[in-house]
């Protein structure tokens, strides 16, 4: 009797241990891309480098609303996790699938869409927190104390007000420069940013677009006053901004791996994983601007704090 019990227990233990390794072997991660972008490929690469043994399948929606195709893909692949890149992919998958965990990324302004609150959904936002931005800014320019930030009230009031308190905790003062009409950008900047030791360019589409001169005026002001300007994209560093911080897409892929493992291995429910900001950043510094601000006699180890120096010497 005891023998039989022990044998049964042993067989059960062997079965369970093999079953747990089978889970990881059979787990499929289904990537759904809204469209084919280089950044999305970098995310997937970051995922596979962090998780070399993962079995992945990829569907490209090519920018089209192909709900049936997405549905067929999910039914065919039977993934353990669906990873959506872009809002089209995310909204489509969330509409179709209510049980399989979904991780979304590369979605702008997810807070404005209630679907992302669905129980089987978690994700990573596109907004790098101000505390992250200015921690890095201070590492490069420790003397920065007051930051001037032009903003359009219809677009950026919330982010600016949230940032005000965060920067105060860091010992920085945020000078909020309200610009309701981009035509007045230059005068508003001159009037309010005169004594700022740093400038912050938001991703404010009402201020910075092809129809306004705000970008040029901001860069010009920063150079004349020799005030470092923090931008949100490498493109602006090439145009003359001092420094940019954007998302590191490979790290984003690695962060998705981390969330996936929490869902599968730790069996955490998606609803219990808050939507988080991106962890990895990609920073670019303008070498010519650095020399303008500090002169030639600066410590080159500052380049150790960034990912890329522009322009690269040939």
């Amino acid at each position: 009797m005891v023998d039989k019990f022990l044998k049964t227990t042993l067989i059960l233990a062997i079965y369970l241990s093999s079953a747990s390794t089978d889970i990881s072997a059979k787990t499929t991660y289904a990537f759904i891309k809204s469209k084919n972008f280089k950044q999305i490929d970098m995310v997937i690469k970051g995922f596979t480098e962090s998780y070399p043994n993962a079995k992945i399948s990829i569907l490209d929606m090519n920018g089209k609303k192909v709900e049936n195709k997405v549905s067929g893909f999910i039914q065919k692949e039977k993934p353990s996790i669906i990873i959506c890149m872009g809002s089209l992919a995310a909204r489509t998958a969330i509409k179709i699938e209510k049980k399989i965990p979904i991780i979304f990324s590369m979605v702008i302004n997810y807070k404005k869409v209630s679907a992302y609150q669905q129980d089987n959904v978690t994700g990573i936002s596109m907004e790098i927190p101000p505390a992250n931005l200015f921690t890095q800014f201070k590492m490069l320019m420790p003397e920065v104390r007051t930051i001037g930030v032009p903003f359009h009230p219809a677009v950026s009031s919330e982010i600016v007000n949230d940032a005000y308190d965060i920067l105060k905790e860091m010992g920085l003062q945020l000078i909020r420069i309200r610009v309701s009409n981009p035509i007045n950008f230059a005068s508003k900047l001159s009037k309010n940013a005169e004594n700022c030791s740093g400038l912050w360019m938001l991703a404010d589409t009402k201020l910075y677009n092809r129809k306004t001169k705000a970008i040029k005026e901001l860069v010009k002001f920063s150079k004349i006053k020799k005030v470092p300007l923090l931008a949100f994209s490498e493109a602006f560093v090439k145009s003359g901004a001092f420094f940019s911080i954007s998302i590191n897409y490979k790290s984003l892929g690695s962060q998705i791996t981390m969330i996936s493992k929490r869902l599968i291995q730790n069996r955490v429910l998606p609803a219990n994983i808050p939507i988080a900001p991106p962890i990895g950043t990609f920073t670019v510094i303008n070498r010519d601007y650095m020399q303008l601000l500090i002169g030639d006699d600066f410590d080159e180890s500052i380049y150790d704090e960034v990912d890329k120096v522009y322009p690269e010497e040939n």
Binding site: S50, G171, M258, I279, T281
Partner: protein
């Protein structure tokens, strides 16, 4: 224009080719014409040697953790420095380990300058041996630390938790394993790869992860610039010391002393400064008293 024929034809073969061509020409020409051709061939031969056609050394470089992106500057810095010492080289700088590995059999490098973890990782495959080690102001090693939230005191509390650190590709997962305290590995801790220490520390400060592996210097710098960010963090453990990049010689490569001496003499100023900064060092020194697999 400098040619590199090392991989095309040996000196002996070149002599044979010239000799055969001369014999063929001699059959069809008269004495005066033969003498003229002979003189021209000698001049051509001397010309080719005068511009040092001979046996450029091939150097492979793989140091993915570098912050320096000015690759062309690094390549020309090394090549020009060695040229000033009378050594001609072809330098290949790789960003991905797969490209490095795929090129070894094809290009048969003489020497490699690689990060120390990669040197150890590939030691049994390439059977190379380190002749020089990088140093920073005399120090051959640097230390990373395991930083966690103050609420955590024991590495075992990190099992199934999240850790942020600089890592570049799947090949560096084994490097992270070598750093982690006993009982922890990339199998039982979820690693988030970032490109620089500040990202890892900020992720930890915001409690997006429970731990980070960073250099001591980075931690101290953040502590100085933003003490609020680190108020809830502490160094749980100093990790195993890490060596700076190594200069390794591939097996069956001979007469490499001149080249290695030239690399050892690379100064931390002028155009070689960026080369050394690429490796995160201020110079290279003999790999004395260090085992090949460390």
């Amino acid at each position: 224009m400098i040619f590199s024929i090392k991989n095309l034809v040996s000196l002996q073969k070149l002599k044979v080719i010239f000799k055969n061509q001369y014999i063929m020409i001699k059959t069809f020409l008269n004495t005066e014409q033969v003498i003229s051709v002979k003189i021209k061939l000698i001049i051509l031969f001397l010309f080719l040697f005068s511009i040092d056609l001979v046996f450029a050394e091939t150097i492979f470089i793989f140091n993915p953790e570098t912050r320096i992106t000015r690759i062309r500057k690094v390549k020309s810095g090394i090549e020009n420095h060695l040229k000033s010492k009378g050594i001609h080289t072809d330098v290949y700088i790789f960003v991905k380990s797969e490209d490095f590995e795929n090129s070894v059999s094809r290009l048969k490098p003489d020497l490699a300058i690689v990060s120390s973890y990669y040197y150890s990782l590939m030691a049994s495959k390439y059977k190379w041996h380190a002749v020089l080690s990088g140093h920073k102001d005399g120090e051959k090693i640097f230390t990373k630390v395991l930083v966690t939230l103050k609420s955590l005191n024991n590495p075992q509390q990190l099992i199934n938790k999240n850790l942020a650190t600089v890592s570049l590709g799947a090949s560096s997962l084994s490097f992270i394993d070598s750093l982690l305290p006993s009982g922890l590995s990339t199998e039982n801790i979820h690693v988030v790869s970032v490109s620089k220490d500040i990202d890892a520390m900020i992720a930890l400060a915001f409690e997006q992860v429970e731990a980070a592996i960073v250099t001591m210097a980075s931690f101290n710098k953040l502590k100085k610039n933003n003490p609020v960010a680190v108020k809830n963090l502490h160094i749980m453990q100093k990790l195993n010391p890490i060596q700076y990049p190594k200069i390794a010689v591939f097996p069956k490569v001979e007469s490499i002393e001149k080249l290695t001496n030239a690399l050892k003499e690379m100064p931390y100023n002028g155009k070689t400064k960026i080369v050394l900064r690429f490796f995160g060092v201020t110079g290279f020194t003999h790999n004395n008293n260090l085992g090949d697999n460390k």
